[in-house]
Subunit: 422 residues, 2 copies
Amino acid sequence: MSLINETHDPALKSWVEEANRPGSDFPIQNLPFGRYRPIGVDEDFRIGVAIGNQILDLQGADLIDTSDMNALMALDTAARQRLRREISRGLSKGSAQQQTWSKRLIAQDAVEMAVPCRIGDYTDFYTGIHHATSVGKLFRPDQPLMPNYKWVPIGYHGRSSSIRVSGQTFRRPRGQTKAPDAAQPTFGPSRRLDYELELGYFVGGGNALGQPVSIEDAEDHLFGVTLLNDWSARDIQAWEYQPLGPFLSKNFATTVSPWLVTTEALAPFRAALTRPDGDPQPLPYLDGGFNRKAGAFDITLEVLILTERMVESGLPPERLTLGNAGTAAYWTAAQLLTHHTVNGCNLQSGDLLGSGTLSGPAANEAGSLLELTEGGKKPVVLANGEQRTFLEDGDTLILRGWCERPGAVRIGLGEVRGTVLA
Amino acid sequence: MSLINETHDPALKSWVEEANRPGSDFPIQNLPFGRYRPIGVDEDFRIGVAIGNQILDLQGADLIDTSDMNALMALDTAARQRLRREISRGLSKGSAQQQTWSKRLIAQDAVEMAVPCRIGDYTDFYTGIHHATSVGKLFRPDQPLMPNYKWVPIGYHGRSSSIRVSGQTFRRPRGQTKAPDAAQPTFGPSRRLDYELELGYFVGGGNALGQPVSIEDAEDHLFGVTLLNDWSARDIQAWEYQPLGPFLSKNFATTVSPWLVTTEALAPFRAALTRPDGDPQPLPYLDGGFNRKAGAFDITLEVLILTERMVESGLPPERLTLGNAGTAAYWTAAQLLTHHTVNGCNLQSGDLLGSGTLSGPAANEAGSLLELTEGGKKPVVLANGEQRTFLEDGDTLILRGWCERPGAVRIGLGEVRGTVLA
C-alpha cells in the first residue's frame, strides 16, 4: 500500500536546481518515469526519470538493467519503493551520486518522448458521473443515467494501436453520420469533433487469466497515471454506437502524456471517495478499507485551447476547463481494476485503463466541448472573439494536471497536447 | 487479388500420403500456417504448415528465416503467393525436396499449438444478421435490428489478452447480474453462459495511422481465417452493456483454432454477397468490384457439444448447429477491414477481426444457445436425454469448419474446442 515516507519530505531538495523552483512539475518528490531519446537520433528509447527540466538516464545511472518499461512496471511494490528511494537519495542535495549522475542527465527540451510503455490492451471507463449525466441527456433525454451506472463501473475496450504520446497530430476523421431528420446516412469528415479530459491509469503487475484481483490488492497492481485525451467524433458516435458501443468515433487517435506519475508519488494526494447520500453502497467486491478511505486522487485538471489564429496573433493558450479528478469520478482506479478482473479477465503490465471524461459538477468543470456547448447549441467564445462549438482544423488542445496540498510539495503530471489537421 | 492457380489443382497430390485421404482437413491445396512446439518441450514456438496429419517446419525446410508469424503475415501478396507456390511444389508427389523435407515433418499429435500470431488489437463485429435479429428480439423486443445495421458494419473492440488457442479451459465467470424484477443486482457465477460461432479474420499487412484502406485494396490486407468461439455470459451482458457495449460478459475467454487458412487457399471458395431485395446498397466506400462479386467465404460451419456425462458414457460429440458463413454474414471481411480504417484507424499485422456470430436463417443454423433455446426458454435435448439451456460446468464446445465445392478439393479449418470449468 502506498504510504508517505521520506521521499515525500517537503524539506527535500535536489542538486538539480530547477527541480527546487516552486511550481515545477517535477520536484524531487515526484520522480515520474518516461521513455526518451535525443531529438533526431534514431536509437531505442531509454527509461528516464524527470527531475526539474532534466531527465536522469536510469540505466546510465546503474539503477536498472533494462530499457523495457513494462518489465520495470511489473516489479512488485517493495522493489518499486526501493527503486524510488534510491533515485530520491541519489538526486538529493549533497548526495554522493551527484558527480556521476550529473553526467547521466539530458535536458527535457533536447529529447523526443515515446508512449511510456507497450500498451497491450486499453480499456476506457466512464467514471465521470457528471459527464455521464450530461452526455446521457443529449443521447437519451428520457434516461440520462442508466440504472446500472451506480452499481457497475461501466467500461469498454478501446483501441491500443492508435495511442500516441503528447504532440500527436491527426487528420479529422471521416465516417458515416446521419442527421436526425435524414432518411439515410452520408459519408464525410466529422463535423462534431471533440476532446475528452481523462486520466490514464497504468497497470503495473498483471494477473493470471482466471485469477481476479481483490479490492484489497488492487492498489499494488496500479503503477501510475498520465493525462489522456480521448478524441471523439460525436456525430459518428451517435450513429454507430447502438447496440455495441463507441467504435470508429473513438479509435482514430488517443493521446497520453509522456510521464508516468507513480502511485508512490501520489501518496500525499489521496482522498476518500464519497458517495452522495442515498446512493447505493458498492457491492462487497468493490468495497474495501483503503479504497474507501483514500481511493481517490486529488488531482487538479485543466484544459486549454490554442487555435491557429491565436498562434498567428502570438496569444497564449486559453483555459476551457478547471476541475478535480477526485470530485469528478464516481469510481476509483482500484475499483476499475478489481471490476475488470472479477470475471477472470487478465490484465498485463502496461495495460491502460482510462478514467472516462472527468467533468466536475459546475459548468466550467466540463471535460468536453459536448458538455461546454450543451451539445453544440451554445458556442464557447474565446478572448479573441473566435467561437467554438466543436473543434476546428488547426486547433491544439492541451491537458494539464497537478497536485497541491498543504504540507506537501506540489507535483505535476506535465501535459498532453494534440492538434487536429484538415 | 486471390486467384485460382496451380496450387489449387484438384489433381495435385502430396508425398505426405495422409494429405491425399479424402476428407482430410489439410490436403496440399490448403497449406495453413500455425505455431507449434513438441509437447512437453519448453522451447520457442516455430512456424509450420499443416499437411495431412503432419506439420512441415518452414524454417527447418529453409523456406523462411523467421519464427515471427506476424512478420510472415506482413509479407506483400506477391511474396505470400511465391511462398505458397514453393511450399506446394516441395510437398507435391515426386518433388526433389521430399528427401530433405521429410526430415522436417512432425506429427500433429506430437505438438502443442499456440495462438497463431501476436494479436495486438482484437475487434469483434456483428455481421450475422440473423443472429443480430434474434438476439435483438430478446434484448430489445420493440426494435430487434437497429436502424444503423444495414448501413454500418457494427463492431466493437474486444480483449486481446484473454485469447487462447483451441483446448482452452476456463472457470465460469463471476459478475454482477440483475433479474428483471429485482431491485438491485447480485454477485455470483454466470448462470447464462453461452458460446458464439464465429470466424476470425486475421490482418496481414497493416496500414499507417491516418491512411485508410480502400475496399479495392482490402483483400490484400487479409491474411487468412480461423474459427473463433466468443464465449459470452448473457446475464452479465444484459446488465452491463448499456450504454457502452459488452465488456466483462465477453472478455474472460476467447478461443481460436490454431491454423490460419489463407485467403489464397480459400480462393476457390469465394461467393457473392447478395443483399435481400429492398435493402440499401452499401455506401460507395464499402462497395467494390471484387468484393461485390466474390467477397464472401463459402465455409460450412458446425458446432458440437460434448458433456461430461457423454464423455463418461463414451459418446461422441453431438451436433448443435450446421450452417454456412457466406449466407449468415451481411458484411464481408473486406468491408469490415475497410470500414475499420476509414476514419484513419491503423490495423497492424496479426490483428484479429471477429465476424460476429454466424447464424443462418434456419433454427438449426443458430450459432449460440441463446438463439437455439430462444433465450433459455426451450432447452436443447441431447440424444442421451440431457438438456441444455445454457452451458453447464464440464461442457466442451467444438467448432469445425470446411469448404467443399464441385471441382475443388475439400479443405478444412480444423477445429476449436474449449471447456467450461466450475
